[in-house]
Symmetry: C2
Subunit: 214 residues, 2 copies
Amino acid sequence: MTRKKAYHHGNLRQALIDAAFELIEERGVPALTLREVARRAGVSHAAPKRHFADRSALVAALAEHGFRGLAAHVESVRASRQPRDSAERLRALGVAYIEYAIAHPAHLRVMFSPEVADKTRYPELQRAADAVHDMLHGGIEKAQREGLVRRGDPNALAFAAWSMVHGCATLLIDGQARRTPVRTLIESAVRTLHDGLEPGAAVSAARTGRRAGR
Amino acid sequence: MTRKKAYHHGNLRQALIDAAFELIEERGVPALTLREVARRAGVSHAAPKRHFADRSALVAALAEHGFRGLAAHVESVRASRQPRDSAERLRALGVAYIEYAIAHPAHLRVMFSPEVADKTRYPELQRAADAVHDMLHGGIEKAQREGLVRRGDPNALAFAAWSMVHGCATLLIDGQARRTPVRTLIESAVRTLHDGLEPGAAVSAARTGRRAGR
DNA sequence: ACCTGAACACCGTTCAAGT
DNA sequence: ACCTGAACACCGTTCAAGT
């Protein structure tokens, strides 16, 4: 209500970010334009320059926002769902990632936009992305220590887990789901990440104990 | 050598596609511009209109090219590597997908560009993408029949496999590999797709027979 | 310190005109 | 049938000038 006035002389930076997300959600990433964002925030087209050096800097800020939001969502799920062991906890992390992508497709698209693929130019973005990666990495190591994830290079295992979850999320928000409910697809991806495609895994998944733990 | 002359009055369409891929490889997808493509092909900026209705139509043609190239690469790998059973064949398909992405990152980016996410507007693109999907779907069903992939909705299993392979490919071409050789990461993703993260799978993977096959 | 307005080079798209 | 050249509205970016 009273926001519109505060924008003009206040936190223009945040106003631009809000307007940018609205724009992406309405008309897609290709429609994201500095001039349109400025227009929606009610300032001249040159005003964003004070807050974002160029278009890439705005995209980087949006991506950073996305990574922080994802980390927060993962944390909140962890707090509310109370996973019983580290394997369930890891599974919850994957589901949270996919949920976040579906709830905020604009955020995920901008987080992995080619424009900001080189994160060395944006240290804050780098840190935000690393924080999410560290959650995954830590989750893998913890589950390994408890014998709930097989042994091996944690980096390589974390990468595999990230690939599955990220691939699932991006395919779903790009509308690649076909003839099958989204819920079923998510469950299939998360279960396959744990059990694999091979038939034997179904048996081992039904076991309560472990077999080749440390 | 004699190509340049042939372009001006000949297969301009193909010349534009070639120029577009060169441009994307050199300067990335955001730099893809109809005017620059026309310039490189040596024609006026309005000439592409005869072959591509608008920018999206060009991107769709590039994406279609990408899907056909991927299908061809998968076929050639299948012919040369002679997989012994349907599980190995499925694994080879995944590796081929990732190899293709790394060899032709511009193709993969354009294949999954948000601009052409809605493939209903481009039937030829739809068909090319479906052909790749059908290969995967068929591979899953065949492996199921041989008892080398667990039972369940083939669509859901194919989606999980696609998620892993596609996620791996996109993360790698976006330079998300960290501190670990690419080869190791690919092997981890492909192995995890088959075995899962859980410890029991390592044992079952070592078995020669099946256990819960049909 | 923060924002404006004019300016420049670029882009997508259209369309009458050329061959 | 295929391509050109001028035109229009839009964009990113820069910069002197305003408050």
